[in-house]
Amino acid sequence: MIWTYDGSFEGFLTSLHRSYIYKYIPEKLTMDSAGLTLLDEREIIETDFETAAKVSKSINERFPKKILERIFHVFLCDDMPFELDLLLYLRMGFKDLSLIHDLSHPVVYAVEGYQKRLLTTIHKMYAFTRFEMLDDGMLYAKIAPPRNVLPLIGKHFVKRLKSEHFIIHDIKRGLICVWDGQNLQLHPILEASEPTLHEDEKHFQKLWKTFFDTVAIESRKNYKVQRNFVPLLYRELMSEFKS
């Protein structure tokens, strides 16, 4: 049986709860019904907020902070089919906490693997996010990370740019993260018009490009390595790769 849910954390928790009630583990738990055929047996799990709140409470009581953080991180991996693994992981943890420390168990290994990839993406965004200065001095960055890291990267940039105002815009998911000098907030955003750049912006982008191009040593050119470090998917929004 394949279970589909609405992709929300509450929906996921409802599914977890359902697996206890039915004493049943689905073959697959997914928000995406696109790949399913008519022959697949499937059940739609309706999100139940009350149940979800209860499950959430018992998860919070059961697991140490580090594991709670891991659960949250895995849930942000919206590009990978993490659901069934996470469901099994939580069930293992409820049964016996020590089980989820066994890295040689395939479910534990998979779950830690999802988290690792999310953390890698976070570091990539720390590095590759590029701000542009707008006409009013605000810094604005577009990002399109492979997984949903925007909720986690704002704080890092506040530390660096605390005296500035900035917006980071995930154009793939329609989310923005705003720092106005005092508060950091996350909002969904449907449409955004192209903002006007500061008159110096192109000048500094050009200087950066000059630096970037000059710093490479001719006799050591190695585009393969460069691509390993800066995968193509990030480059579209990095000014130094525009020609």
């Binding site: 020590s98 420390h101 066994d102 890295l103 040689s104 168990h105 395939p106 290994y109 570091h123 720390y126 590095a127 590759f128 996010t129 590029r130 701000f131 542009e132 200065m133 810094l139 960055a141 940039f157 530390k159 660096r160 740019l161 605390k162 005296s163 500035e164 110096d200 500094f204 050009k206 200087l207 950066w208 000059t210 630096f211 970037f212 191009d213 000059t214 710093v215 490479a216 040593i217 006799s219 050591r220 050119k221 190695n222 585009y223 393969k224 390595v225 460069q226 390993n228 470090f229 800066v230 990095m238 130094e240």
Partner: protein
Amino acid sequence: MTVEEKLAILTDSAKYDVSCSSSGSTRTQDFGGIGSTHASGICHAFSADGRCISLLKILFTNHCIYDCVYCVNRISNDRQRAAFSPKEVADLTVNFYKRNYIEGLFLSSGIIGSEDHTMELILKSLKILRYEHGFNGYVHVKLIPGASEYLIRAVTALADRVSSNIELPSQKSLALLAPDKTKEKLFQPLHIVKNDALTQGKKVMGMSTQMIIGASPESDYEILKLSDTFYNKSLLKRVYFSAYIPTTTHKHLPALNTPPPLLREHRLYQADWLMRFYGFAFDEIASEKNPFLDERFDPKLAWALRSLHHFPVEINRADRETLLRVPGLGVRSVNKILRARRQKLLLARDLDTMKISLKRARYFITAGGSPIDQTELRYERLESKMLALEMPKPGTQPSLFDIIQSTTGEL
């Protein structure tokens, strides 16, 4: 000359300096404005040669009154010259930082006018950066050997890290190739900074240096021994190696078409890594009898092949240090093993689940008492197997990917 033209010239002149890591700042002073006090060593970009770009690495000027023969900026070299103003350096740094291009500034310089004059210009750049812009990001300055002590102190107080290149691995080579420099003069800034910290009871700032490899005849053994002395005396935290790239013809230098010894540089970084993080002594890696590293193997594997009596190692019992000495097991793999074996007795298939590569390690370990590979632990048996693993594809250069791994990561 426009800022852009200056930037092109002064980046080009600075780019052969390899030390670019921005991690490990311990400064607690806050300058109030932009930037994080705690540099985290982020690489913001990777240039076309695959190197990490973390800092705005520039020379203040490429004018120089000296004539070190291996250097592109030497006075006798016919070259376009440029110099920034202190304000230009500060503006570039802050504006690059705001856009998240860099972690901070790496400022070095040729000598314009005199040592003190050059150092004053650098000091002025730092003052604008710290006090006018309130910049908190990372700043690394190459101190100018021979500058007055008060200037060295003032610059050090505003920087996160300072360093000074010792350039060549021996006094003799210095005399030959950099006649204006002596060992004493090159070490002067490092000693001042260290002694100041000690007399004030402060932690000594982690300093680094760079040695050019392949411009002079010293062996790997001599180079590693020298590095070891620096680390032991806690004078330096890090020694960088830079494969010499010929840019000039000189009777004491390799010919112009000599390829830079990249593989050798790579092996030296690996050896250095073993000394700093894997508990190896320099004379385990190279010796007077075998003064050059075996370029065919990474130095840990080369050591293991010479020391087969230490193997095989049982992964369920061996301590951390012993596991780290197994070829092919890096810090991450060892941590995984240490963690997983607390839960149960590890067998070969458990290593597989944890995706620990056994390509090299298989010959050197046992899991639960049984060997993973039946190959006899004899040099003649293993050498060819290892060569098959290491053999670079015909015609390719040593992979720079490995080189970067060796400066950042694992063996």
